[in-house]
Every structure is written in C-alpha cells, then in structure tokens.
C-alpha cells in the first residue's frame, strides 16, 4: 500500500516498532512530520489556536496510549489524523460549532454552486446549437504576472477561499489536496461515502479555482 507521498506500510511497521520500544527519535520524526499539519487541521474546527493546540496535544497522547492496540488496518498517518478529526469535532460540538450530518446533507444537496457562473455559458435564449457551451471562455492564467503566482498574497487568497468553504468541503479539500490523503483514506477519516467525497471535493476545488481566477485575472 502506498499513499501519494510514497509512505509504505512497511515503513509504518518499522516506525511503530521503534515507537513501541520507546525510541524518542522515532517520536520526534513523527512529530516533525505531522504536528504542523495537525495544528492546521485542528484550526479548522477550533475557535482559537489555544484549543487547536490542546486538541493536537491530546491527539499525540491518544496515539501513544493507543500504540499497543494499533493493528495497522489503516496507515499510521490515517490513524493519527482520524484521532485528530474525531477529537476536534467533539470539542467543536461541545462549543456548538460543528453541525455534523445536517450540513453534509445540505452541502451535497446544494447542487447549484459549481464555481462557474451560468452566464458564462450560452443560455436557452441563445443559438440552439451552442446552448450550454462557453459563451466566454475562462480567462487564461498564462498572462498573470509572475509575481502574483509566487507570492504570500497567493497563499493568503487560497487560505481565505478554503476558510470560506462550508465545513465538509473544507475538510475534504484540506485532507485531499493539502495533506495528500487518498480518496479512500478521506472517506475513512470523515466517515463519508465515496460519492459524497467526490461531490464535496468537486465543489471545493471549483470554488478555490474561482477565487484564483479572481485574483489572477480580474
């Protein structure tokens, strides 16, 4: 089994053995690899950074306590992130900040929002041969100033676009495209179906593309 970053289960097995044996360097490697990603992800659910840090700290403690029972049915990374997501949601629910199933249904039902305005296409009143085709092509990004593509501003634009997404879309795009989990792993971590995963990812990417378009060419 290989995820997109090329970590194999065999690597996991060796690392887990070192951790179980109390190898501090192994834990340091793990923490260096995932802590910042966990903080970012926790930050999506938490009301402030102090709560996010607390959730991540608890996650690491749960990882250590659970090591002996970890059976390797998922990758180590998936297991750690699942613990994080579950804890973060529990915290958020306690604060009344996470609405769970309701929002998932609402968001998958919300079919209209593709991130491309319908008036970019030839409407029913237009040339019948071209209805549903581009009226105006998406503007090319090739002429965007180089400085715009390689800047702090670009990061800010993307972060803002992701922050503005409905929560389940934000979860899916963060796990898939920032943390590079596979579709299957995301379904396991968030406990959603493959179809929902794709719908949510689709909306999220379309909206972030739209934000990029606005930033790069408008």
């Amino acid at each position: 089994m290989t995820d997109q970053r090329g970590t194999t289960r065999a690597d996991d097995t060796a690392l887990i053995e070192r951790l179980r044996a109390g190898d501090e360097l192994a834990f340091e490697e793990l923490v260096e690899q995932y802590h910042a990603s966990l903080i970012r992800l926790a930050g999506m659910y938490a009301s402030d950074s102090r709560v996010a840090e607390e959730v991540v700290q608890e996650t690491w403690i749960a990882v250590l306590r659970g090591l002996d029972k970890f059976e390797g049915r998922s990758s180590l990374k998936t297991w750690i992130f699942s613990i994080l997501v579950n804890r973060a949601k529990t915290y958020a629910r306690r604060e009344g900040r996470y609405s769970n199933q309701k929002s998932l249904e609402e968001e998958t039902a919300d079919a209209g929002d593709s991130g491309v305005s319908p008036d970019r296409f030839v409407g029913p009143g237009g040339d019948p041969d071209w209805v549903g085709h581009w009226d105006v092509f998406p503007a090319s990004w090739d002429e965007a100033p180089e400085a715009k593509l390689d800047s702090k501003e670009l990061r800010r634009v993307i972060q803002q676009a992701i922050d503005a997404l409905p929560e389940t879309q934000r979860e899916v795009i963060s796990l898939r495209d920032i943390n590079h989990f596979s579709a299957e792993e995301v379904c396991n971590i968030l406990n959603i179906t493959e179809t929902n995963q794709r719908v949510l990812l689709h909306r999220a990417r379309a909206r972030v593309r739209r934000a990029l378009e606005q930033y790069l060419v408008e």
Binding site: G22, E24, F27, E28, V31, E32, H35, A36, S37, I39, R40, E53, Q57, W60, I61, A62, L64, R65, S114, V116, P118, F121, V131, G132, H133, W134, F137, P138, S140, W141, L154, R155, I158, Q159, I162, I173, D177, I178, H180, A183, E194, R198, L201, H202, R205, A206, V208, R209, L212, E213
Partner: protein, 85 residues
C-alpha cells in the same frame, strides 16, 4: 443522455474524470469534447493548477517549545507516568 456533452455538463464531471470515476463510454465522450474545446481544456488545466497550488501550501515547522513539550510527554509515556485514560 445526449450524445455529446455540453461545456456546462463537462465542467461538472471534471472531478469524476480526475478521480477515475467515469465509466468508459462517458470518459470517451469527455475526452472527445476536450479535444475540440479550448474553453473546457483550459478549465481542466486550471483545476489541475488549482490542485497543485493548494498542495503547495507549506506547513510551518513545529516550534521548539511545542516539540520539547511533546518529547517530555513521550518520556512520561515511556516511563509509565502518563496516566491511563
């Protein structure tokens, strides 16, 4: 379903296409459309670029303080001083 896809239909299938979730007849229609359509080819390229740019959001490295705190948690766990839940 119509024989050919409209652009508006195609952009809604982009993620299914990238995820390898399109059945092969639909996949063929998708690719046929792309060949002849600058707008859709550009849209797909921009979605790919979006994925790439989002994927480059770099994480901050863990701070020294947080790291040493976690390492001391690890030592507690190792010595059995970390209370059971």
């Amino acid at each position: 379903m119509a024989e050919t896809l409209t652009c508006q239909e195609l952009i809604e299938l982009v993620t299914d296409y990238l995820e390898g979730a399109l059945p092969s007849p639909e996949r063929r229609r998708f690719e046929d459309h792309l060949k002849g359509c600058t707008g859709c080819a550009r849209y797909l390229a921009q979605i790919r670029q979006t994925i790439e740019i989002v994927g480059e959001l770099r994480e901050e490295a863990i701070g020294d303080e947080a790291k040493s705190e976690l390492l001391s948690v690890f030592r507690d766990w190792k010595s059995g001083a970390l209370a059971k839940e």
